[in-house]
């Protein structure tokens, strides 16, 4: 019923709370463009604290592997972080799923 093609893209958020630490994955959010993704990530995941570094990556740009499931490495459709509906482009006729 809902058309996921008009949904704002999903972005994964990584935050380094202070110098010396790694960026850590915090979660995701929806934003229409990189600038807003970054701004929103700061609003939502850091509440605009100074000194934090934020990375945002479009979720469908992340290439992932899961060593525990060796079969999956050979299936290109399985290299996304998770099975989000907008990651997979379906033919128009069945795009309503």
């Amino acid at each position: 019923m809902s058309n996921t093609q008009n949904e704002w893209p999903l972005w994964e958020v990584f935050v380094r709370p202070k110098a010396g630490l790694d960026h850590k994955h915090c979660g995701s959010l929806h934003a229409p463009d990189p600038k807003m993704a970054l701004q929103m990530a700061r609003e939502v995941y850091t509440r605009r604290l100074e000194g934090t570094s934020v990375w945002v990556v479009r979720s469908d740009q992340i290439v992932a592997s899961d060593p525990a499931d060796k079969d999956m490495l050979f299936d290109p459709a399985e290299d996304k972080v998770y099975r989000h509906p907008t990651f997979y482009e379906l033919p128009e006729a069945v795009n309503h799923m």
Binding site: E7, L10, P32, P85
Partner: protein, 333 residues
């Protein structure tokens, strides 16, 4: 708080296993759960486990978002600038919690639009407590004290939920949540200790209306919650409805004494043998009526959310249109 919804999910989603391989996967899955391990987004999981979690996490998220409305009702009327700021910060936290939870649910194969659609069409539920109206300023404090108090009690065990993205979201939520209950209690305490008679009456009035609905937040009695057993088995639910409810009553009855308010239950009494508070019967017909859509604010709450979303459609579409124009320009350059 949101496990309340899970108990009412249909139990008809279990499909028979198809192959020996799937049987093997399920055995490994069960073993990991039994040893207290975590399930991540890409791990194999039974379809019923996935569906149960999508429903629970998304309904938890919806509850946070709808929960912004009864308190939002008092933002423009907050009595001091400090209280206004605290209330705005709290409501903002709730929005943030909704976002963390939508993010966790999306790892299971659903999308934000799909979840919002389910809420707006009435297919997905949210915690029934938010269908009650906030009628005076003290309601805001009581919501913080009782409703957030109950939520915290439900949420702490979820920090050990077997589905790791949900557990991680809950850890983040719980870190921010304790401020919510404290600020509610503090607002009431100031009115009770230093306020006028009229203020004290306002507080007692709010307590009278919110006490029983808060107890209902823990869901129906264990004996009437058939899905609880499966959720416990899968490490989604850790403590039973009745046990959580008892814990809440024991803690809150003591807090009520500190505040100097009377909880509206003539049968509420410490039982030295059980080492718990005895309490009066809950009117479950009220619970089912409100869950079924006939509470004071069900229609308004949903209408507000639908209207915010629908009125925002042109905004979201415009932002996407602009982003696409920028991309086209960048590619042409």
């Amino acid at each position: 708080m949101y496990t309340q919804m899970m108990d009412m999910a249909p139990a008809d989603e279990r499909k028979p296993l198809r192959s020996a391989e799937e049987h093997e996967l399920e055995t490994r899955f069960d073993a990991r759960i039994d040893e207290g391990g975590f399930i991540e987004a890409k791990d194999w999981m039974p379809e019923h486990y996935r569906k149960t979690l999508v429903r629970q996490i998304s309904q938890h998220a919806h509850s946070e978002i709808v929960g912004m409305l009864p308190e939002g009702n008092w933002v423009t009327r907050a009595p001091t600038l400090k209280r206004k700021a605290i209330l705005l910060a709290k409501i903002q936290d709730e929005g943030g919690h909704g976002l963390y939870l939508y993010a966790a649910a999306e790892t299971l194969g659903t999308s934000r639009d799909q979840m919002v659609d389910a809420l707006h069409s009435g297919k997905a539920k949210y915690s029934s407590i938010f269908n009650y109206p906030t009628l005076n300023w003290a309601d805001v404090g009581v919501v913080g004290w009782l409703v957030d108090g109950a939520a915290i009690m439900n949420q702490i065990p979820l920090c050990r939920c077997s589905y790791a993205p949900y557990a991680r979201a809950m850890i983040r939520v719980c870190k921010e949540e304790s401020f919510h209950q404290r600020q509610g209690f503090d607002a009431l305490n100031v009115m009770m200790r230093e306020g006028t008679d009229a203020q004290r009456a306002m507080v007692q009035d709010a307590v009278n209306r919110w006490w029983w609905p808060s107890l209902m937040m823990f869901g129906p009695p264990d004996a009437e919650s058939p899905n609880s057993a499966q959720s416990m088995r899968w490490g989604i639910k850790r403590i039973s409805n009745d046990d959580l409810r008892q814990k809440f009553i024991d803690a809150t009855a003591e807090q009520a004494k500190v505040l100097g308010v009377t909880l509206p239950d003539p049968l509420l009494k410490w039982n030295a043998q059980r080492e718990h508070y005895d309490f009066g019967p809950i009117d479950w017909s009220e619970f089912w009526r409100v869950v079924g859509g006939e509470g004071a604010c069900n229609r308004e709450r949903l209408a507000d959310r639908v209207s915010a979303w629908d009125n925002g459609a042109w905004v979201r579409d415009a932002a996407l249109a602009h982003a696409r124009k920028q991309q086209t320009q960048a590619q042409a350059a």
